[in-house]
Symmetry: C2
Subunit: 111 residues, 2 copies
């Protein structure tokens, strides 16, 4: 059996407080992830509509000038939001490539 | 000089309407991207705080059980938001790996 010293108790309090803070941050992250998923859901409806318009009017599936403008805009927004602009750019590239892949997959399955 | 037929004019109207619709969808996508960037900025502040707590309390940087729970939750949310669950999972994995890389980069630069 060990006798708890004042230092042991203070450390226990700190660890308990850290666990509480960790749980709070994780709850915020979970709420923010819900915003991200619903926003991506809404974004995807628009890219689907764009894909349909492009297919109907024989426009190319990807548009490098539009993508370049989006990336430049995202960099500005990222700086305003205190987010690493490289992260924001990598994020947009990931979404655009996933959207193109998804549309191609659907076009193939409908072909 | 060409004489425009009714069909030519109708096609022009359709093309103009398609261009309008395309512009509207792109404006929505741009607004949704601003939500995504600001939400990611907010999310990143929380993951930074989590990283700091973990470093202070000697906890491992990655937590597989937490990540598995997040992925399962995102799949449910994606279904509710009518978003491809595979896309949502790929998206979360991308963010988590970027966040871990970013924290490692910062830890190295501060070491």
């Amino acid at each position: 059996m060990t006798t708890e010293t004042t230092t042991d108790l203070a450390e226990k309090d700190l660890a308990a407080r850290a666990a509480e803070l960790l749980a709070e941050h994780r709850a915020s992250i979970d709420r923010l992830d819900a915003i991200l998923v619903y926003t991506l859901g809404e974004r995807f409806k628009h890219t689907q509509a764009v894909g349909l318009l492009k297919a109907t009017h024989d426009l190319p599936p990807s548009d490098p000038s539009r993508e370049a403008a989006q990336i430049a805009r995202l960099e500005d927004l990222a700086i305003q939001a205190d987010l690493d602009p490289d992260f924001a750019k990598a994020f947009l590239k990931f979404i655009i490539s996933e959207v193109i892949q998804h549309h191609q997959k659907h076009q193939e399955s409908e072909a």
